[in-house]
């Protein structure tokens, strides 16, 4: 029911390098879950329930669908908790990875696209707002936002269409008028850049970065 094709001009994201604050998660709840500590389950739901629910809502067409997705994501999380390695990233990013996989599979199975109206709002987020004010729970999310801010506008747009809106590469090519190969290249380079900055951040050197 939502319109599939979107003009490139509808995506207008203002990323900024300034005023980004981070909130790091100290305890590894997932490791405790993997070790059989069931009290960590409630803690996990307390801490990340809003994250999972918000993500599911935005990638679902209705509340019932979002509720099913949320239950599936948490179930997948209990099964995957043992794979979490704090050295690889924060719990919030790990959980978002699980959530994305689940939601992408669901979308593919039902041939649906995420609810794009919600994403217009989401994509208009102004990243000059402190991250903490947006409910962020991960330092890496702040680093990712900073990394995107360093990309050129066209690359930012492609990355956000693919990652946040869940558009396929072909859909992005159609919406932006760019060749499919260019879309794929921008996507790969953009994600590589984000990851590179995340790794630098983990190593303690998030500031510089420089253009690429």
């Amino acid at each position: 029911m939502p319109a599939r094709t979107r003009s490139a001009s509808t995506i207008s994201v203002r990323f900024s390098r300034k005023r980004i604050q981070t909130t790091t998660v100290s305890e590894s709840i997932l490791e405790r879950i993997a070790a059989g500590d069931q009290s960590a389950v409630a803690e996990c739901i307390d801490r990340y329930g809003g994250l999972v629910w918000s993500a599911a809502r935005r990638w679902s067409n209705n509340a019932a669908d979002a509720e099913d997705a949320t239950q599936e994501i948490f179930l997948e999380l209990w099964k995957s908790a043992g794979r979490y390695k704090p050295s690889a990233g924060t719990e919030a990013v790990f959980i978002t990875t699980i959530a994305r996989r689940r939601m992408i599979d669901r979308l593919r199975a039902s041939e649906r696209r995420p609810r794009t109206e919600e994403f217009d709002e989401t994509l208009m987020l102004d990243f000059t707002e402190p991250v903490a004010d947006q409910g962020m729970v991960s330092a890496e999310a702040a680093i990712a936002a900073r990394a995107v801010a360093q990309l050129e506008e066209g690359q930012q747009q492609i990355l956000l269409m693919g990652v946040v809106q869940g558009m396929t590469h072909s859909e992005i090519a159609t919406a932006t008028g760019k060749p499919l190969g260019t879309v794929k290249t921008h996507m790969r380079r953009g994600l590589s850049r984000v990851r590179q900055l995340m790794e630098q951040g983990a190593a303690g050197g998030t500031d510089g970065g420089g253009g690429g």
Partner: protein, 85 residues
């Protein structure tokens, strides 16, 4: 050349679903043992997604109850070998 293909598949997995054939191809490429971090793109995509996600609504209470109930069922079915933490 397979390295380029591997990267291509990993990016696709991070941003959109793979077909069954692509999934098998990816597994076989990964089994060949490369020094590629196979989760790198997915983690980057997740961090980026998180950075754009407005977390403005708590998990509804009824849904929380359902999630807790699912968890109880799941964990009660797991073997309880608490040998070592």
């Amino acid at each position: 050349m397979s390295s380029g293909r591997l990267q291509d598949l990993l990016v696709r997995r991070a941003t959109q679903a793979l077909t069954e054939d692509e999934r098998e191809e990816l597994e076989s490429l990964l089994e060949k043992g490369t020094n590629v971090d196979e989760t790198a793109f997915e983690f980057a995509a997740a961090a980026l997604h998180l950075s754009a996600l407005r977390i403005d609504e708590p998990l509804p209470a009824s849904l929380r109850t359902a999630v807790e109930r699912d968890a109880a069922v799941y964990f009660s079915a797991q073997p309880s070998d608490n040998g070592d933490a």
